[in-house]
């Protein structure tokens, strides 16, 4: 199959984990790399299918997305919006400091 498929090593796994914002402890990275490689190796079989000239299928619904009038139809209930926040101040979500 195509050249651009790499075998994942622990370093790549760490990079993917960071992209996905999931903490994966270093001692689990090698094992996870094995698992992911097995899965990716298995999906390589898709390379056998001739897909020349085939349009990628993005949705099963043979419809164009509906449009609606550009009007406010919802909202005005900040209490409900922050109802489940771990840390809400007034009607804001609080997070650790981002800018020094």
């Amino acid at each position: 199959m195509s050249q651009d498929k790499a075998t994942l090593d622990a370093k790549t796994v760490a990079k993917i984990a960071h992209l996905a914002r999931i903490k994966v402890p270093e001692e689990e990275q090698a094992h996870l790399a094995d698992e992911l490689n097995k899965l990716l190796g298995w999906v390589e079989q898709l390379g056998e299918v001739d897909t020349n000239g085939v349009e990628p299928m993005t949705s099963v619904a043979a419809q164009t997305l509906r449009r609606r009038a550009d009007q406010v139809t919802d909202g005005g209930y900040p209490d409900a919006v922050v109802l489940n926040a771990t840390d809400a101040a007034e009607h804001f979500f609080s997070v650790p400091k981002v800018v020094e």
Binding site: I16, R21, K23, L46
Partner: protein
């Protein structure tokens, strides 16, 4: 008095209309059954107070003659549907304490028609799994144990991801339940527990307020004890919803009227590619039996070919993780659910998601992130979308020669907790017969077809044309009739 929890939904509705019992009596019987079934771990949250309040209101409506089509029916709700003010977890640690401020369109439709909620049912975490073993709240047990005396000791899975739904309906502690199906999560557990499970056409039921796994595949549907009950419940669940951009704006037919029993001349496609290598002889036998049943009722079996079948699972395991990695990006510890602190915002995200997601969910998010990442998008994701188009095209061509398709629902009966866990791919193979239709967005139903030699239930799957649930239900009704009365699971005896 008859055992109220053993009535089908249509029988219970008749009983309520004839005032043979009240909605409160029916709900009380179910609340007791739910308590007695706790060892099966099917419910994450029980809501007996809500149920009894709803039942009282239902009795008032029966008194006033304003009762709805599902009035007083005690349902289990898969814990993937947001329920206003009631803990909604998706069976994940990351949604700890989440009580939605809104109601999903599906549950809102069911409540509009008078349904009663017994509680929120266990599932695979974020509906990712085929055995209900990835739940943060622990596995669900199948009410079926099989013939083998040792099997009674072996705890069997109910299938997944709608495992709690399947167990509660089969075990007679919910009259019916909502399920969701992304790659087989309604149909496969229905087969494993001897009930009816219907996945409607993509777009038939609103996805609004249902926690998303893979948005181009997810579809809600009924899990019931009879085909008629599936028709009744789908009637309430289905319909256009402007809040879901993929909900289809078309009339909903009368599903119960479909159950005429007349399938004379109907062409039933038998896909040759579904005779997979290593398939147990029992599955083949039940499939053959199904063909004979439909033939005896006047249908005409036609051999068809779905040449890209063998690529469906690999396609699914690119497309679904890709969509899940995007959908699950919202769980970041800021707006709801679990938060695990870190030294800065990035670390808080990573800690929260590292601790909040289970192993299978993490694996799928990682695969999805990888196949969508720069440099790999074309080779994996785009390629899978193109193969998906091929698979859908296979079905479109097949439906030029047939009206419905008959296949086994799953390649085995229920297995024990702990089996098929060595590597993810052996677990994924459970969905080999259900995934292709999911990719094509087609409706499918699993109907109980009796017991296999091991004493466990097996289902047969009927697939239909897009939005032709009517024909699907008609054929399912004939199959149910031919299969005859199904035994109760050992748990209920």
């Amino acid at each position: 008095m008859t055992n109220l929890t053993h009535l089908s939904m249509s029988e219970a509705l008749d009983g309520l209309k004839k005032k043979e019992f009240t909605a409160v009596e029916l709900t009380e019987a179910y609340v007791k059954a739910v308590e007695a079934a706790r060892p099966l771990n099917a419910f994450i949250t029980e809501t007996p107070e809500i149920a009894l309040d709803q039942a009282k209101a239902s009795d008032a409506r029966y008194g006033a003659g304003t009762n709805g089509p599902m009035d007083g029916m005690p349902l289990g709700i898969k814990d993937l549907f947001c329920t206003k003010g009631v803990l909604t977890t998706a069976a994940s640690h990351i949604l700890d304490g989440f009580k939605p401020a809104y109601e999903s369109s599906i549950t809102a439709n069911l409540f509009r028609d008078g349904a009663v909620m017994l509680g929120k049912l266990n599932l695979d975490e974020f509906a990712m799994g085929s055995a209900n073993i990835t739940s943060y709240y622990g596995p669900v047990l199948n009410p079926w144990t099989g013939k083998d005396p040792a099997a009674a000791e072996r705890k069997l899975v109910p299938g997944g991801s709608s495992g709690g739904s399947a167990a509660s309906v089969s075990g007679r502690f919910a009259i019916a339940a909502t399920g969701t199906d992304t790659g087989g999560s309604i149909r496969q557990p229905a087969s494993f527990t001897g009930i009816v499970g219907l996945k409607p056409t993509y777009g038939r039921c609103s996805r609004w307020g249902t926690i998303a796994f893979a948005s181009s595949l997810d579809q809600a549907g009924p899990m019931t004890r009879t085909v008629r009950d599936a028709a009744i419940m789908l009637q309430s669940m289905a319909g256009f919803d402007p809040k879901d951009s993929t909900s289809v704006d078309m009339p909903v037919p009368d599903f119960q009227a479909a159950l005429t029993g007349d399938i004379r001349g109907l062409r039933v496609g038998i896909p040759k590619e579904y005779r997979v290598e290593g398939m147990p002889a029992e599955i083949e036998r039940v499939w053959q039996q199904g063909i004979e049943w439909l033939k005896a009722a006047g249908a005409v079996p036609v051999e068809i070919s779905l040449p890209h079948t063998k690529y469906a699972l690999a396609t699914y395991y690119v497309v679904a993780p890709a969509e899940c990695s995007s959908n699950l990006a919202r769980y970041d510890g800021v707006r709801f659910g679990l938060r695990v602190e870190g030294k800065d915002l990035q670390e808080m995200y990573e800690n929260t998601r590292g601790e909040g997601f289970g192993k299978e969910v993490r694996r799928r998010i990682m695969i999805g992130t990888y196949v969508l990442s720069a440099g790999y998008y074309d080779a994996y994701y785009l390629k899978a979308q193109k193969v998906r188009a091929r698979i859908a095209e296979d079905f479109a061509k097949a439906y030029e020669q047939c009206d419905v398709i008959l296949t086994p629902t799953a390649p085995s009966t229920a297995f024990a907790i702990g089996e098929k866990q060595d590597d993810p791919i052996s677990m994924y193979l459970n969905d080999v017969f259900t995934v292709p239709a999911s990719l094509a967005g087609l409706p499918g139903i699993s109907v109980p077809a009796g017991l296999a030699a091991d004493g466990l239930p097996l289902g047969l799957q009927i697939l239909g044309r897009p939005f032709d649930e009517v024909t699907l239900l008609r054929v399912a009704g004939v199959m149910e009739q031919a299969a005859g009365a199904q035994p109760l699971p050992p748990f209920c005896r």
